[in-house]
Symmetry: D3
Subunit: 199 residues, 6 copies
Amino acid sequence: MGLAVFLSLCGRLKRLPRSGWLIGGVGRAAAESIADHVSRTVLITSLFCDLINSGQEYSVDCEKALKMALLHDLPEVYTSDMGKETTQYIGLEARRRAEEKALKDLLAMLPRNLQDDYWAILAEFRSQKSVESQLVRVADKLEVVLQALEYEKAGYLHGLTKGMLEELDGAAKVCDNQHVNDVIRDVKENFGIATVEEK
Amino acid sequence: MGLAVFLSLCGRLKRLPRSGWLIGGVGRAAAESIADHVSRTVLITSLFCDLINSGQEYSVDCEKALKMALLHDLPEVYTSDMGKETTQYIGLEARRRAEEKALKDLLAMLPRNLQDDYWAILAEFRSQKSVESQLVRVADKLEVVLQALEYEKAGYLHGLTKGMLEELDGAAKVCDNQHVNDVIRDVKENFGIATVEEK
Amino acid sequence: MGLAVFLSLCGRLKRLPRSGWLIGGVGRAAAESIADHVSRTVLITSLFCDLINSGQEYSVDCEKALKMALLHDLPEVYTSDMGKETTQYIGLEARRRAEEKALKDLLAMLPRNLQDDYWAILAEFRSQKSVESQLVRVADKLEVVLQALEYEKAGYLHGLTKGMLEELDGAAKVCDNQHVNDVIRDVKENFGIATVEEK
Amino acid sequence: MGLAVFLSLCGRLKRLPRSGWLIGGVGRAAAESIADHVSRTVLITSLFCDLINSGQEYSVDCEKALKMALLHDLPEVYTSDMGKETTQYIGLEARRRAEEKALKDLLAMLPRNLQDDYWAILAEFRSQKSVESQLVRVADKLEVVLQALEYEKAGYLHGLTKGMLEELDGAAKVCDNQHVNDVIRDVKENFGIATVEEK
Amino acid sequence: MGLAVFLSLCGRLKRLPRSGWLIGGVGRAAAESIADHVSRTVLITSLFCDLINSGQEYSVDCEKALKMALLHDLPEVYTSDMGKETTQYIGLEARRRAEEKALKDLLAMLPRNLQDDYWAILAEFRSQKSVESQLVRVADKLEVVLQALEYEKAGYLHGLTKGMLEELDGAAKVCDNQHVNDVIRDVKENFGIATVEEK
Amino acid sequence: MGLAVFLSLCGRLKRLPRSGWLIGGVGRAAAESIADHVSRTVLITSLFCDLINSGQEYSVDCEKALKMALLHDLPEVYTSDMGKETTQYIGLEARRRAEEKALKDLLAMLPRNLQDDYWAILAEFRSQKSVESQLVRVADKLEVVLQALEYEKAGYLHGLTKGMLEELDGAAKVCDNQHVNDVIRDVKENFGIATVEEK
């Protein structure tokens, strides 16, 4: 099995920084790791799913959503966290292809059925059609906003950018879920950010 | 809702170190955060569950296991990561009571149904009776061993201790699952650690 | 002798952070160590004693006070620096018992007469009855306020909390010493903090 | 002029790490910055040029070589330091195109004549035909080897890889210069690395 | 040859911090290294030279200026970066003599002709008579101002001091070059600092 | 009073690193601060004094020794921690003069009687004639050895140098005290360092 190698490689996500904060001047020891970010993204995803499933209007596949959140940055083991500008210069498509190749190679270390399952879960995430994929994307963007607010609270200036809020609002609009929107509203109110009404 | 406050408090898990490494001399900027550890523990849990469920001998509740892995260190938002000796001096029971109170206060920020669900999930984890709780405990211990091996690989001496291996083996013995044991064996072989046969 | 082991264990105080700053977002490489804090607490204690002893109204046992300041966080070698919330959840009494046990085990590495002397000095510190113990407690609280102000000066927000000032003022009130109060007043004026008159 | 913006953006090279060391476990505060690497690459380049020009067999354009060394990582202001695997997955060509676009945008902030000069210098570096471009490439590779050896000297394991030595030897072979080879030989002997004879 | 030892010693410039930032509270992992500072000083020097040489009123020896910028902090391999107050207490003359001795010992590791050349270049830099030496000194001071502004932008207070601006303006006045002054003006305008007219 | 300013300036000792470790490659976030070093030096001093005073052959002035240990690096607030080579180039006498001037200026912030007392205590330390001054010097050197051993234990190579042991043995020889020698012997045996018999 290549599981030991796979798990060990995943340790890189703890050592690789989320580069946006570094570029912004947060300081190399204060900048969170990719694993840090994944951790709370999974947590937010769990909250979203459980709020929705409690609501009982309809239900989402929580296990699948949790795995999307858990694995969506897996390729960064090889491609690291490419900041906004790096992605612009590489090109979003080129970045996606690179991440797909990296993902393929990483999953190849797993037993075949797990490869297929994880590949399918992440393909679904990429296509952004299912509610699970959409709420995970919101979780991802909300996590960034929370972190930016925490850096600002600690004294770093301009942690939170207009772009981050726009990405969050954009993802929330696509997801179009009342429970998800309630959480976002709560965050914005708690931190004093003007709320844009989502339908 | 207290969700914004809850999510923001969870950001502490990124800033609080896993203290064992600090004590061992890994260096304050190289020591992983609690969130780093949770991240890979959830990943290992996912692998365990999916290997077991693929095997189709029986099935485990993956969603529940993922949530156990995700939330089991949640109280550390308030109680931080107490190292081995600190726990000895505080006393394991006193530590558990503290973590339960902290957990209660944290979950109180969530809607009632989520509180109850998460409390139940973590109570099940603490009782270590179900296969889900047991495999999550193995995931937790295996994650520590992997991290210790990575620190050793980077040059830190005595990252991996006899105690860590004993805890892993002990948890694996209780779990007594072939798929879980296969992963552990793979890790030990990959890193050149003598394997103790688990029944 | 266990002195070598004792001295080596004390090296942990350099590696363990003062966790409050970490939680507040100061950054893992900017957060001071327990040893850093002890260093200036001993210095403040020396100043307090020498100011009092110069005043010649009465005299304090400076050697004893210095040892109190030097040793009062010694148990943290094993129990680390428990932040405010951790202490609340563990319980102040449970924390004190843990620190006493840790202290006992640490002092047991020393020759018997030193064990007894240091134990007595720290028991006196804990009982907070003597002027030496009280002025050391003020030194401890003043040191925190100074550090908070320095973090704020560097740009970290909310370094200094109302609670820190209340603890300082509370300790100063118990100590009720003119020289000690003069130093506190000087710090508050220098940093632009409103002074509360102590009787 | 966009010089102020240009110079400020170049400050990022101090904040962005050379990612290979991070991945290898060097620790986020011990890993050098891109600017750190450029600094010594320029120094090595100067030594190479001055040794060659002293030799008086022929002469190299030292000013041009220094500028190549100084500017060759300039695009990383936007594209950051892509590690070996990231480059594999992005593709060397895609990476080069990205770096060219980033370079173009950065140079566009400078007065027109400087744009043209720097663009020409870096185009010459990329084509690796002139002796200046070849010796700068050796300087770049030698710098990595030196840094790896220093990390190993400090206790990090496997700092120096076979690949790093191969890249150095490969670049040296193309450059085929006696003075350059003397320096490499001196480094290898000093650090106890087996020397491969270059013609 | 002592080139290997020389190059390895120069690696210290990456590990030694620019102490002013540390003293000011920037945080040990966010404080730039001496090599970081040299890197951008060389870049600014290159821009100055190329702007002047493009202007074609007269020309400066760019290669010499680049080497001045590259080597001017070389002695700090042995003497490290002495902050403002340290220099005051050591005495500027004593510091200069120490740096000259250190420089001599470092250059002694190089082939004789390089020793002489580099010694001459740095002697010229020290005497501050030639336009090359003067513009490198401006580059040095401008680099500090840029870094201070970046720290302020990230949230550190009082990064930029009146003294830093005075040193920059003073060096610019001596250099008295229109192109150099244009760059300084652009920086000040870009960052909102009041400009003092230079003649 | 200048006490507030004095105490605040002393905070620098927490931010300034002990530069030897940095130069040796320990990593900027793992290198201890001057305050860290002072902390354990005071502790070792206390142990030395109490061991001697328990022995009751003669007695040492513990309060004075503790203050020597506490204050002996005070000038480094202004002069920082000058490494071995820096001291060689500056010259030991020039360094001492600088430290005396810095000390004078720092103590000038204190009430007059404290100035005189502290100046006398440190003059006595510098003259190295009294047993208190000699045992504090041993404490200082032993502290370095302990820290070097701890860095080695964590995986840093060559933490402990021959020079460090020679300085320790030299200081111990001058001090020529059985209790002090017993502690040194215990450290050497504990860490497996060959002991040189002191008379």
